[in-house]
């Protein structure tokens, strides 16, 4: 073989990893959203079911394995993204004095790195608030059917009752939406999963996903805040 680079090192390989991790993170968003949708509800039943769900997600062995894959994906997606962005910046050392990029490309597609960094910062804040607290923090507990359960629900609700925290959420979800607006179909293009017959479907689903999923994520804190 000519290059010996195969699936590591070449520009295309780096893009494959971006696409694959991105698509994996997209599937995770669906699962995460499905759980969060419970927060639209109110009352003790909702609290109990949400907390049971949280316990399941943090303790069930299969989920645990998947979660490590998830952390790895986030890290790989972020690091690979930073490497790509640095290479891209180096590929044009001298910038245009006048550049009319809006004439030929979408804003989101040109700002994936920025949107990605906002999303990453959000993930860090988010994980500190909930994931870290759940695993290592002092989350109050109570008993359901003789079992000690961490009350993540009350922490969540308490968090979203703060305006600044809700605002961070809403802004971050907007960034995620734009990131997905381009990223979803871009991943398919990168993998070469392209066909004139199916491309419109991929694009349509991608854009719908990019609007609906972040919107629902953002509505939860808003609804709780306004409650």
């Amino acid at each position: 073989m000519a290059t010996g680079k195969g699936l590591f090192g070449s520009s295309l390989a780096r893009k494959y990893w971006m696409a694959l991790t991105g698509l994996f993170l997209i599937t995770f968003l669906i699962v995460h959203l499905a759980g969060n949708l419970q927060l639209f509800g109110e009352g003790e039943e909702v609290r109990d079911s949400f907390n049971l769900y949280s316990k399941f997600m943090t303790t069930f062995p299969v989920i645990k394995v998947v979660s490590y894959l998830l952390y790895a994906s986030i890290l790989l997606h972020a690091i690979d993204g930073i490497v790509l962005a640095r290479q891209n910046a180096a590929a044009r050392p001298s910038k245009y004095v006048k550049n009319n990029a809006a004439a030929n490309s979408g804003w989101a597609s040109r700002n994936m790195a920025l949107l990605g960094i906002i999303t990453l910062l959000f993930i860090i804040i988010h994980m500190k608030s909930f994931w870290y607290e759940m695993h290592f923090g002092n989350v109050p507990t109570y008993m359901i059917d003789g079992e000690e359960i961490k009350d993540l629900h009350s922490i969540t609700v308490a968090a979203f009752e703060q305006l600044w925290y809700t605002l961070i959420y809403v802004i971050s979800m907007a960034a995620l939406g734009f990131h997905l607006w381009h990223g979803f179909q871009s991943a398919f293009q990168t993998m070469g999963w392209s066909h004139p017959q199916y491309n419109p479907i991929i694009k349509g689903v991608g854009k719908a996903f990019a609007v609906i999923v972040p919107l629902l994520f953002a509505l939860i804190p808003i609804v709780i805040y306004l409650r």
């Binding site: 073989m1 290479q87 550049n99 004439a103 030929n104 871009s186 990168t190």
Partner: protein, 248 residues
């Protein structure tokens, strides 16, 4: 019409470069952009100055030599045209027009608006051919029928003129559209099949070595390409490279 031109001047690859302002008067709307540049250069020569260096040759949109970034777009505001096919009727009296060279690490400036695109030649040399001797003792041209759809798609990819507008336009200076057009042309034809895997690996490797950026799929290259080379080619190359990487 009367125009103000802001033109990039750079003495050589190591010069920092700067914008210079010129006035050109009585420009006819029927002129091509390069003819307007001819008028400007004539004016500069008559004033005892150093004329602006720019690449151009066929002036009918096929040689791929002209290469100006005009008002923030490769080959200017028109669609499906090279700079030599851009006419002054696209502009208005009193306009200020910015003219810059293609900017990319892989395309160093030779002088002013002229850049060195030999990186493209080296990518082709890495594998953009069918390894057949030129003896003429090949089989009859009609021995292998080729599905019309594939032959047409191969032709569409092969119409790339190698001007570099894709690289100039891409926010990452990526050469994916150029490279994928050549990879696609051969991967769609039975003649190119035996070397397909090797070809895509070698050409992508060379593309990376030349210092082009990575593809973000913004699609800007397709929009600005004077020949309308499709993004489908990039998807096809991604597919071909993946296949080759997994099997070679």
């Amino acid at each position: 019409m009367n125009l103000t031109l802001k033109v990039w001047r750079q003495d050589g690859p190591n010069d920092k470069g700067r914008m210079e302002t010129f006035k050109v008067n009585d420009v006819s709307e029927h002129m091509s952009f390069l003819e307007m540049m001819d008028v400007l250069n004539e004016q500069i020569i008559n004033d005892g100055g150093d004329p602006i260096a720019f690449d151009h040759d066929c002036r009918e949109g096929i040689c791929g030599m002209c290469s100006m970034y005009i008002n923030g777009e490769a080959h200017g505001p028109g669609r499906g045209v090279t700079t030599c096919q851009l006419h002054m009727r696209e502009f208005n009296d009193g306009d200020t027009i910015y003219i810059e060279p293609w900017r990319a690490k892989a395309f160093p400036v030779v002088k002013d608006l002229m850049v060195d695109r030999s990186a493209f030649d080296r990518v082709i040399q890495a594998g953009g051919y069918v390894s057949v001797n030129t003896s003429g003792n090949t089989q009859d041209a009609n021995a292998i029928p080729i599905e019309k759809e594939n032959a047409d798609a191969a032709f569409d990819a092969a119409t790339c003129i190698g001007c570099g507008a894709c690289v100039a336009t891409c926010k990452n200076s990526s050469a994916m559209l150029f490279v994928s057009a050549k990879v696609s042309q051969f991967s769609l034809l039975p003649q190119g099949e035996p070397e397909a895997a090797d070809r895509v690996l070698k050409m992508v490797n060379q593309m990376d070595l030349e210092g082009f950026g990575n593809c973000t799929n913004t699609g800007a290259c397709e929009v600005e390409c004077p020949k309308g080379i499709s993004l489908e080619n990039i998807a096809r190359m991604n597919r071909e490279y993946l296949k080759a990487s997994l099997t070679k």
